[in-house]
Amino acid sequence: MATLLEVEDLTVWLATRNGPRKAVDGLSFRVDSGEVFGIAGESGSGKTMTAMALLGLLPHAAKTSGRAVFEGRDLLAMKPRALRDVRGRSIAMVSQDPSTSLHPMLSIETQVTEHMRHHLGIGKSEARGRAVELLSTVRIPDPERALKAHPAQFSGGMRQRIAIAVALACEPRLLLADEPTTALDVTVQAGILRLLDRLRRERDLAVVVITHDLGVMSAVADRICVMYGGRTAEVGPRETVLTRPRHPYTRGLLDALPHPEGGAATLRPITGSPPSLGAVPDGCPFHPRCAFAVDSCRERRPEPVLVETGHLSACPPDPLGGAA
């Protein structure tokens, strides 16, 4: 599989009242075409800012460094106008809550076709034809009628399907899905996950799924990057990361989940809470909450290193290494 997106040393500074603070700090990863790449982390881990940086949609006064090479071009170095031609055309976004990400006052037709017409320069009737096809691809019943409707007339699950159709309109190569099922019910979530999986197989579409839900990760992602405090804790194939994690944070997240077989009376939380923007500790950002922390964790910032084939972990003491 060909590499579609290669992110190297991505750093994002956000403007705060105390000056610029790093929301993402030296993040590197690669996404192959046709692959589902998962970015996992709690709120404040920098996962959403990563997606916004790739799209050039960071808040005002935010700065980036590093590289993000997509189809041979560095997204971070592109002029706003050039990046706008990539956005929505080659890279599309699906966000968390379809009831807020679809425009409440515009018809479905406008929302599915407006960027199609802008990017592809096609006429109204052609765009309309494509929109009907798209809506049936995402399994919206009666697409012709749906085009005339407005988002309020659909259920949450249907709205997210429409949002996906909007994202697919210009046949992008990469889809950034930020918590695509978090606002949905679990039975509806199953449908959306299946849809995403089908689309990437049928369309050779690469998908970056950003979520805090390791269950969702486990269902759709091929490879997973676990982020903490704006940095990579661990990256690797789904099965390895979720069954034999090497980073204590990943272990902690998995342990905090209810046990799959139930039974045990209590859950095992990670002590403390994730650092807020601008309050990321020195050294390993996780060390204050880590049961295995040693002196070097407080001083040196760990880089992700290869611990086995395709599996990187940013924990030099590697206390979980023996368990593998």
């Binding site: 979530q189 199953a190 996950l193 486990s218 859950l267 939380p269 403390g272």
Partner: protein, 313 residues
């Protein structure tokens, strides 16, 4: 075991101008004993939160009866809530909305004591103790809610209910607004308190796996009805209602196996126009022809289980 809380045939209707009344809860039955955790699960719009609010009296009921410690619970009007109902408290979903942003944490936690007749300084002192009990520093009394994280705020909200010395807490999605690690610790706190104070807890949640972990019994709601109740372990291992089964198989597991969860086709119907017969029949994978007109009641099965399905034996 006599019931601490007993809801029988509870129905809640919302009246809207220019639209048919919306029956959010339709003849729901629940019982809860001291020291017991009842998980109440279901998808959005199934009426689980409305039922929770009706139980404590924040929502008027159209019919049915709610008894707490043998006394009927009347909906809260403009009058003061009777003292004997103070043992029935509620924890809300969003700790950002359930604490007054402009009042000191200590005052809000101390309210329960103050309203119980304790002096102001004594209430303040005991509020500090309660905050320590739920794992916060005692100096939290002199701070405002915005100085705390989501998990800490939810602990404050829990401490506030404890000041009323409750014997029963209705917790409406108490951990869904929190981060993963905070979720686990707040859920643990609630379980600990139930065991320690011998309270009853109704834990309302859309997150089935948490309920599975902590609840002694689980009740599943669909479109305003309780469709299945039983000991958590049995409900999970052999669900009696097809909806319960669908719900369980839709939960993705973080086991790294890459298995896609099972989809339940169709949408939850409009609660103001529920389908005739069994409410689940249009989406039910095993529906019989008779399900379209026969509405099965919640029937007692063996082992303390009940289900509302003709196929359940």
């Amino acid at each position: 075991m006599s019931a601490l809380l007993e809801a029988t045939g509870v129905a809640v209707e919302y009246h809207r101008t220019g639209a048919p009344p919306l029956r959010a809860v339709d003849h729901a039955d629940l019982t809860l004993a001291r020291g017991e955790i009842l998980g109440l699960v279901g998808e959005s719009g199934c009426g689980k939160s409305t039922l929770g609010r009706a139980i404590v009296g924040l929502q008027g009921t159209t019919s049915g009866e709610i008894r707490f410690d043998g006394r009927p619970v009347a909906p809260l009007g403009l009058r003061r809530r009777p003292a004997e109902l103070r043992g029935l408290q509620m924890v809300f979903q969003d700790p950002y909305a359930s604490l007054n942003p402009r009042r000191l944490v200590g005052d809000q936690v101390g309210d329960g004591y103050l309203l119980g007749g304790t002096s102001k300084t004594e209430a303040r002192r005991r509020a500090g103790e309660l905050l320590e009990r739920v794992g916060l520093p005692a100096d939290a009394v002199k701070r405002y809610p915005h100085e705390f994280s989501g998990g800490q705020r939810q602990r404050i909200a829990i401490a506030r209910t404890l000041a009323a010395e409750p014997s029963c807490i209705i917790a409406d999605e108490p951990i869904s607004a929190l981060d993963a690690s905070a979720q686990a610790s707040v859920a643990n706190l609630l379980v600990e308190l139930v065991r320690e104070l011998d309270m009853g807890l109704v834990f309302i949640s859309h997150d089935l796996s948490v309920v599975r972990q902590i609840a002694d019994r689980t009740a599943v709601m669909y479109l305003g009805r309780v469709v299945e109740v039983g000991p958590t372990r049995q409900v999970w291992s052999e669900p009696a209602h097809p909806y319960t089964k669908a719900l369980i198989s839709a939960v993705p597991r973080a086991d790294g196996a890459g298995v896609l969860p099972v989809e339940l086709p169709g949408d939850v119907p409009d609660p103001s126009r529920p389908p005739g017969g069994c409410r689940f029949h249009p989406r039910c994978p095993v529906a019989l022809a008779s399900c379209a007109h026969d509405d099965p009641p919640l029937t007692i099965l063996r082992d303390g289980r009940s289900a509302a399905c003709v196929l359940a034996e």
